[in-house]
Symmetry: C2
Subunit: 256 residues, 2 copies
């Protein structure tokens, strides 16, 4: 099992608070010691920080916690390897370009008997995880269905992907985060929840380490920020728990 974390916001927002909680699960409060990664979108561009060592010990994770990168969409993952060895090429998130956008994906769970299903050619995995293979298959099927040029509306693409995710979930556990840079999709198999924070903002207290934040001091009244995580990161707020097969699409912090 791994831990997912993602954010969608209507203004560039840093994820230092939530990432600080997540990073603890990579070796301190959780067993996820097989690497971690985080992708920040800034406009159409994106950058991914990755390390194959535990997030609780990583120099780069410390940088992320001390250097607030402001972003409208973030996708993060800390890994406990099940399929695929511990290496950089097996570290999430994975990114591919399609339609002049960077698509970023992270998966929590484990799949079986997928080799015959995930036939790919245009998008090929670089590492040897079930996760990346599933990502490549999703994009392969999207291109088969929608072609090489971006359709006018992207929501039908995500609806189509949710159908593919239903098929993948039949092969095991498939909690997924996917973004095209504008939208943030979450698909739940058994462990995914989210919270949307907006005015009036209050305080939040991390579960995994002794940190409290007062969002009132960090935000403006128009800010809307949704955070998605495998398990709630705070213990004094109400998180929305997704059920098996549930999925949500967010854009600029709000449900689409």
């Amino acid at each position: 099992m791994c831990e997912l974390l993602a954010m969608s916001a209507n203004v560039p927002t840093d994820i230092v608070f939530s990432f600080t909680g997540l990073a603890q699960r990579g070796g301190v409060t959780g067993p996820h010691v097989d690497g971690w990664g985080i992708t920040f979108y800034e406009g159409k561009g994106s950058r991914t920080f990755k390390d194959a060592c535990p997030s609780s010990e990583s120099h780069i994770a410390k940088l992320i916690q001390s250097y607030p990168i402001k972003s409208e969409v973030v996708v993060s993952h800390i890994r406990q390897a099940n399929r695929g060895c511990v290496s950089l090429e097996n570290t999430h998130p994975f990114t591919r370009e399609l339609w002049g956008r960077y698509w970023t994906y992270a998966h929590n769970g484990q799949l079986s008997d997928y080799e015959d299903k995930f036939i790919v050619s245009r998008f090929q995995p670089v590492g040897d995880t079930d996760s990346e293979q599933a990502f490549c298959w999703i994009l392969e099927e999207v291109v088969k269905k929608f072609g090489e040029q971006e359709p006018k509306e992207l929501k039908p693409v995500f609806t189509f992907i949710a159908g593919l995710a239903d098929e993948i979930r039949a092969l095991g556990v498939f909690n997924m985060i996917l973004s095209d840079g504008d939208h943030l999709m979450s698909y739940c198999s058994n462990n995914l929840c989210y919270i949307t924070r907006k005015a009036p903002f209050g305080q939040a207290k991390l579960i995994d380490t002794d940190v409290v934040i007062d969002f009132k001091k960090e935000t403006t009244p128009n800010d809307i920020v949704t955070v998605i995580a495998t398990r709630p990161l705070t213990n004094n707020e109400e998180w929305n728990i997704l059920g098996a097969g549930d999925w949500e699409l967010f854009c600029k912090g709000e449900k689409v």
Copy 2:
């Protein structure tokens, strides 16, 4: 104009020394203040650090200079914008997956009248630079020529790419670095040089800042490391200067 830096080595090697010289050109000894990026391959995996701010001021550039990431192939670029605005999506290096490999590319120079030539569909640029458009066109043509499955030999692919680079050079200045993770290709239009360091190792002194390194202390006798740069980074070693249309292919530090 921008500055390129790349490395091919037969053992995982850090590029801290060379990057320290290059980073100075991003705002201190050079005018390249419009962002920078560096890609490290570690096995088949790769990670890219990017910033749209000057490398001489970047927190992340400081991390790269203080945290030696060991890699067999590195591609780096600092940018002075000519075509395309200053933003993360326009910051080199650019990466695309093809044949289950990450291909990483950086360009120094400027192209004109390329819009009708660089027709792409399968690989589309995310930003609006001539550089990324040229990269997408190269990969598009490679797939047209070699198909969706990796050929047994990769050298003919690079020879084909050198032919494409000749066509691109007709549209302006095209100094290019390209890697598939194993090979490192350099193509020269007007500014590119390289040095291959192997035993017996000596001292090297950076031009751009007052740093001297004794490679004897940092290496083993079997190490072979090639560094490619826009202009020589050291002033007490002999660099090989490439001419217009020259290209070289390296693997594990040595010419292929």
